[in-house]
């Protein structure tokens, strides 16, 4: 998690919840901060409904 004392700058969301928020929202400009490539791979896989092999994002 971003180490700022001020974590209120972000919504902290589990991956599934993140995807729900993105699909519900029509916000035009969103920043997504990910902790590791595994999380990023999960987001891509679930959002685009595709399989991404581990090696492809490592």
């Amino acid at each position: 998690m971003p180490s700022d004392q001020n974590n209120t700058r972000f919504e902290s969301r589990q991956i599934n919840d993140t995807l729900n928020r993105l699909q519900e929202s029509k916000t035009s400009h969103t920043i997504l901060i990910y902790p590791n490539l595994r999380a990023l791979r999960k987001v891509y896989s679930k959002y685009f409904n595709i399989e991404i092999q581990k090696t492809e994002l490592s």
């Binding site: 700022d4 902290s12 916000t27 920043i31 901060i33 999380a39």
Partner: protein, 147 residues
């Protein structure tokens, strides 16, 4: 935008999507550093007054979507190449500001993907705030431990 290595994977697993040209996958680094992406010659003030290949790419993508009668475009951009090339943080901040203007006037929705460490370590606090101020929604993705 994602890496080249993923391109084949997208294509193989999404034949329907591929045939509609609905997903375009490019290497962010190549686009950001591609001088052959010439400045666009259009009247929209949102696109003018810059020399950033990636903005030209945005415009090209929108034009492509328009040719396919798409009603919206989602632009997923990995910010990592801004930190790993001749580009710099000033360039990143400029891009975020310009793209915010563009997003107001188009069917584009943009998702900027930052690795936590890039955001924390490479950006000073003021720069972090400047980046955040450009975004309407800010999400930190929490990863659950592997089973």
């Amino acid at each position: 935008m994602v890496t080249d290595s993923k391109q084949n994977n997208f294509a193989e697993s999404n034949d329907g999507i591929k045939s509609e040209n609905s997903i375009l996958v490019f290497d962010s680094y190549d686009i950001m550093n591609n001088p052959s992406l010439k400045p666009v010659n259009i009247s929209s003030p949102a696109f003018s007054g810059h020399d950033m290949p990636i903005i030209n790419f945005l415009y090209s993508t929108l034009a492509h979507a328009d040719s396919l009668n798409k009603e919206s475009v989602e632009f997923w951009i990995d910010i990592g190449p801004f930190f790993n090339s001749k580009l710099n943080i000033k360039y990143l901040l400029q891009y975020e500001k310009i793209s915010s203007r563009i997003l107001k006037d188009t069917i584009l929705r943009q998702y900027c993907l930052f690795h936590e460490k890039d955001f924390e370590i490479r950006l000073k606090e003021k720069q972090q705030n400047n980046v955040l101020d450009c975004h309407l929604k800010k999400i930190f993705i929490m990863d659950s431990p592997q089973p």
